[in-house]
Subunit: 301 residues, 2 copies
């Protein structure tokens, strides 16, 4: 089993779901990515929090096998996001974004992490994602996520980043926006030409598409009869996927397809709880069962 | 091989796609359903057209193995629909609907069709779908489609119909509307309780979900790099699906899953051409190849 490194945002969120307000919820792309990754592999975390960040949360991460040597605690408050979801989760409204200590974040990769081969660059400013790669000693497998805001405002940085990653994980609307093409098949191919040899287009409840150098792979998402909170689903997908690859040490086409399914499995657990509550309460058997459930879901003879 | 009967609308459409206007395009739910069904099975058509309906189109249907004994030609003009699609096919605008001879349609099932076991009730006024069942001698497998307009305006008729069909084929938004539940898994289960033991929720480019008495089945749609015209995709799905079942004479769970895939295959051909042009130009090998392509698309080991 190899380690994986996760960098991204770490935050304390306030979430409004189903007319209920949840305060002090641990969030951020690195948090979800690390916890999902930890279902499969040892995880090294690089991120920044403020002095208000609860010690018991750090301990919770440690308990899940997350190495927090790269977790920087600095003067100020932890990044905060507040959002409200529509009852049907078809949209969400951002009520507050307070960057706080994230505004001056300069990721520092500890010496002990620099040879790690599997790297997840969670959603964060693209030039910071690049600065992490600059500190690494040639990782063999780098997954990056991004968001519409950076595509709009930091396209050049993003394009430089894409030349250095192996897998871009991106949602369908952002894939269209970044590729400047509406048809998803074309968009995936355009994004591959921008650098990453593999592109995974996340379609939320509709699953994901994997573009590599072989035939297209369409992964179904598990239709869930209850969604508690969609926050972190995409980050859990990327973290779970990379965690599986780090665990097995394989990155061939068949392993990738399985990894995409493990990513959807991790995301399905994530959305069943508010914040990280379900993701930190998943057994190896739960994961295996759900993987087999996806297999039965799509099987035809 | 058994026959299948298709009833529904038959129209002459005007379509605006990709800034091009196509006039005199053969359309209607029965037309697409019959032509897709004819890829697999003998088809009996029940519908009405006006005196303006071109003889060569009737011949075209005959050439595809469609029995047109139930095609009524009456005084007046054929049903006409005109619509414009957004460039990305995310929406469409109806520019004209002229019911014409469809306004007074009373489906008459020819004597020779009354023992047919496989019946597709294409989208049309629900009381007319019921009147077809009243004329049949206990068909063993009835698929019905409907639309938002009837859910709004003819819910009671629709509920009476649902008690008498085996499979409801419905798109995701309409499933939510008819079931009055947002979550799709719940909606499917609610619809099953309204009568049909099987419910298929069509999700367009995202595939379809099959609810029966076994575990849920999620069928991927083929990601297409070119869509010429989405008109008739849903009707082609239902027709292709029923045609496959009629061809094989099986309706067990495994056959149903395969039938759903054949439905998505028929729909994928449908949208590659304007109107029926691609659907009438498909070989048995094309169908087999695409079925195998779907298998590879979703396979993981």
């Amino acid at each position: 089993m190899s380690e994986m490194l996760v960098v991204g945002s770490i935050g304390i969120d306030t979430l409004h779901v189903h007319n209920k307000k949840h305060e002090g919820v641990l969030g951020g792309s690195a948090t979800y990515g690390a916890l999902a990754g930890s279902l499969f592999s040892k995880v090294q975390l690089v991120g920044v929090v403020g002095q208000d960040f609860p010690d018991e949360v750090v301990q919770k991460l440690r308990d899940r096998g997350v190495d927090v040597q790269g977790l920087e605690v600095t003067t100020g408050k932890t990044f905060h996001w507040e959002g409200r979801y529509a009852d049907d989760f078809s949209s969400r409204e951002t009520l507050a974004t307070e960057l706080n200590v994230l505004a001056d974040f300069q990721p520092k990769v500890p010496e002990a992490y620099r040879k790690t081969q599997y790297v997840m660059l969670g959603n964060i400013m693209p030039h910071l994602q690049i600065s992490v790669l600059d500190q690494m000693e040639g990782p063999s497998f780098v997954i990056a996520d991004t968001m519409n805001f950076w595509i709009d405002s930091k396209r050049e940085d993003l394009e430089r980043l894409l030349e250095r990653v192996h897998v871009l994980v991106i949602n369908d609307e952002e894939a269209r926006q970044l590729a400047r093409v509406h048809n998803l098949v074309h968009a995936g191919r355009v994004l591959q030409k921008m650098g990453p040899s593999m592109v995974i287009v996340k379609k939320g409840e509709h699953g994901a598409l994997l573009f590599d150098n072989e035939e297209l792979f369409s992964a179904a998402a598990l239709p869930l009869d209850h969604v508690a909170d969609p926050t972190g689903a995409g980050d859990s997908f990327a973290g779970g996927m990379l965690g599986y690859l780090a665990q097995t040490g394989e990155t061939n086409h068949d392993a990738l397809r399985r990894a995409v399914i493990y990513g959807t499995v991790a995301a399905s657990f994530c959305v069943e709880g508010v914040g990280i509550e379900r993701l930190t309460d998943v057994s190896a058997k739960d994961i295996d069962d759900r993987f087999e459930q996806v297999r039965r879901l799509v099987h035809f003879s």
